[in-house]
Amino acid sequence: MPSPAVLAQLRKIVGLDALLDRPEDLMLYEYDGGVRKCTPAAVVFPQETRQVAQIMKLAGSAGFPIVARGAGTGLSGGAIAPEGGVVIAFARMNRILEVDAGNMRAVVQPGVVNQQLSDSVAHLGLYFAPDPSSQKACTIGGNVAENSGGPHTLAYGVTVNHVTGLTVVMPSGEILRFGGKAAECTGYDLTGFLVGSEGTIGIVTEITVRLLRRPENIATLLGIFETIDDGAKTVSAITAAGITPAALEMLDGWTLRAVEAACHAGYPLDAGAVLLIELEGLAEQVEEQAEAVREVCFQQKAREVRRAKDENERGLLWKGRKNAFAALGRLAPSYYSQDGVVPRTKIPAVLQFIEGISQKYGLRIGNIFHAGDGNLHPLILFDPRDPHQLELVQAAGAEILERCVEMGGSITGEHGVGLEKRNLMPLLFTDDDLDVMLSLHNAFNAAAVLNPGKLFPTTRMCRETSGPSTNPVLQAEGM
């Protein structure tokens, strides 16, 4: 816990109006989009890179842990501070520093909201491709930390595929620049390494992103199926037909009814599942692919295939998809969102498995996910006020992820490991694998000043992350 003297020093760095330490203010920073909570000791709002470096140096010398935070929409607990930790919130570093349309780049501060960037370059016919469902709120700094995805990553890749340069404050307090606007870097690809390192290697204060040109034409189709199995089989049938849609999303019948009640997106209430399929590109190509996709859907027993007639209808279909998590909030006090991945041919089998888990634990599980790349989001509904339910939910979630890994998949496709899945890492990685990652962690963040307790398992590791052995988050949770 930083002493009053340290808090005074922090105020001196960021300004009197840029530090919060009253309990009622800190409550707002004790959670993210996941299920874990911990109240930080203070929240600071730097306005420039230099201040972040000064905070980092102070943390090193005074010995308090720090964690960077964007909008707090993360789903893995990545932005939760350890007890006694200080949150560096990037709400005031939210400027688009440069739009360089000629080189198809933009340079932004980490607090810029994802959607805002695309909106601000729309008049140039450009956009930023990663589009997490939380894109109206989540920040690009957070996207970089978690290597976020979104529906359109099927065709365009995740955040790391769209970042070419970073300014980073290292745990030593040094300010470094990795990469730049050029497509290729000199030396090791430190930019690529930093993206997705969940704030455990350095704090990013400037990001150079790649912008893409908006496609000439977009077709949004809704494939309606009687059973979830038919919908699931259609996913790999579409890619087998040589078509890579820009997005290929699936909602099961139960979820889409909940979504429809909340969003009135125009989803059919009696379907077993729907596929939301988006095709982008040249007009000729989009028309041909739309026809081919319709054919595939009907071959796979689709009841109906609808096509959005205009931008308004398209917007409605996507509104349903992107607000689905929130819509389920109407049905239960809370939900636990999973992020497992399976090879896409295994989607039918894993959905059957999830149904079995739902019955085994007596928990309601909705499925709404990025089917095209096999990235599942089973949403397990529960009441967090009942500790027994939370235990059941976590057990059910772990069982689903274990099955994903057995099928050749992963425990997280886009949400990150964070606090939530750190102890599932040994499902994917051996002690040796983790030891290699740990040696890289310790090459930069040996004292674990930066975001301690994240990403690495607290169990079954031959070595613990070095640094302060008192990690209150771990102790409090008995993990």
Binding site: A182, Y188, A283, P343, M437
Partner: protein, 422 residues
């Protein structure tokens, strides 16, 4: 064989790990070893690390000849060719680092899939070599870099630890992205033993449109028009008059050529024709199209004979796209000043140029002068790599301290010193 200063029989030890027939003495001193599994690679590296012997990993020797490696041990990956996983429905594949790119493409091509890596000399270039050097071909324009479609990697660190990054699925953020760290690290951190990739559906048909221009500037204005259009060609290549003559010696014209390769149905190709307009002078399909792209893919490599002291120097330049005209102009002026023949091709849509300096002997001094000028004029607007050099980055990386920290974490004894980058 005893490595200098080491009083033990290196070859005998390596034979006990990899089998008698998989170790050979090198005429220049030291040994070749060909491990057959990741376990054997780990044992070899552990042994070398413990005894402070140096190792240089080698694949198909397309970028730098194994014969040029001055390490105690040259570790060949040629026996690491096992297919780890392949289901065409998943559009992913995992394969040993020693498989060649041509072998990989043959396998997935049978299912009408495409591996987007198209390095020079694909029948020799290995998957491991492709990753270690981050080399690319003309498909780089439409499909991105190998960092964009490599989804997993298995490796052994310089100090002999087995490691893994990513996995088998196209979307995966569990753990550090070690693919990014190893891609383009020139085997200085770890020996890659296998990797997984995302595959793409093969285009059913393609067509290439050629447009000729008197100057590079006019050609690049045409590039800008394409980049602003709704077209998204799979390749977009600029070929200088000199490069064209190298690839087609019978050609006499002095024009700059823009090559636009489109994929799609008849309707899509007709649309390209319409959008590109009257500036198109030729259209290529089938064998002649394949031949042309193969020549571009192998530019600066095929027939150059890497062991020949007079082999050309090749610079891989990455330039801010808008700066390409000025960079080309500078290259031509410097070429005229120094009298050294410079020819170039490039994926100019994303700002990548391959610059060939004709004569290595006459060229070495000239090339370094060229690099100095480029650095002075363009600063951080360019990055560059020198093919086959002991240090591929003649302009030193600005983050050497961070690179050293990573090197120290994975290869503390500098066992992997086939290249000298620090």
């Amino acid at each position: 064989v005893s490595a200098p200063g080491v009083s033990l029989d290196v070859a005998r030890e390596l034979r006990s790990i990899c089998g008698h027939d998989n170790v050979a003495e090198r005429p220049v001193g030291g040994v070749y070893v060909c491990p057959g599994s990741t376990e054997e690679v780990a044992e070899v590296l552990t042994f070398a690390n413990e005894h402070h012997l140096s190792i240089g990993p080698a694949g198909g020797s397309t970028e730098r000849s194994a014969a040029e490696l001055r390490t105690d041990i040259v570790l060949h990956t040629n026996r690491l060719t096992e297919v780890e996983h392949y289901d065409h429905g998943d559009l992913t594949v995992g394969i040993g680092a020693g498989a060649t790119v041509a072998q990989l493409n043959l396998m997935v091509g049978a299912d009408r899939l495409l591996f987007a890596g198209d390095p020079p000399m694909p029948d020799r270039c290995t998957v491991g070599g492709l990753l270690a050097t981050a080399v690319y071909g003309p498909l780089r324009h439409g499909y991105g870099a190998v960092r964009d479609y490599c989804i997993g990697v298995r490796f052994v660190t310089g100090d002999g630890r087995r490691g893994k990054g990513g996995g088998r699925v196209v979307k995966n953020v569990a753990g550090y992205d070690l693919m990014k760290l190893l891609i383009g690290s020139y085997g200085t951190l770890a020996v890659i033993t296998s990797a997984s990739f995302k595959l793409f559906p093969s285009p059913r048909q393609t067509k290439t449109f050629l447009a000729e221009f008197a100057t590079a500037n006019e050609a690049l204005q045409f590039r800008d028009r394409i980049l602003r259009s709704p077209l998204s060609p799979v390749c977009l290549e600029l070929v200088s008059p000199g490069a064209r003559k190298l690839m087609r010696p019978e050609m006499t014209s002095d024009t700059w050529v823009m090559c636009v390769r489109a994929a799609g149905s008849d309707a899509v190709l007709t649309r390209y024709q319409k959008e590109l307009g009257s500036v198109i002078t030729r259209e290529l399909e089938g064998d002649s199209e394949q031949r042309m792209w193969r020549a571009i893919q192998n530019f600066g490599y095929a027939g150059d004979g890497r062991d020949d002291a007079r082999a050309p120097e090749l610079i891989y330049l990455s330039v801010w796209p808008r700066e390409v005209p000025d960079v080309v102009d500078t290259l031509l002026k410097q070429s005229a000043l120094s009298g050294v023949d410079v020819s170039l091709i490039g994926r100019v849509g994303v700002g990548l140029l391959l610059v060939r300096v004709a004569d290595k002997e006459a060229g070495t001094a000239a090339i370094h002068k060229l690099i100095v000028v480029l650095e002075r004029v363009f600063g951080d607007k360019i990055t560059l790599k020198l093919r086959g050099a002991v240090n591929p980055w003649p302009i030193p990386p600005t983050n050497l301290a961070s690179m050293r920290a990573i090197k120290q974490a994975l290869d503390p004894n500098n066992t992997l010193r086939g290249r000298n980058i620090f």
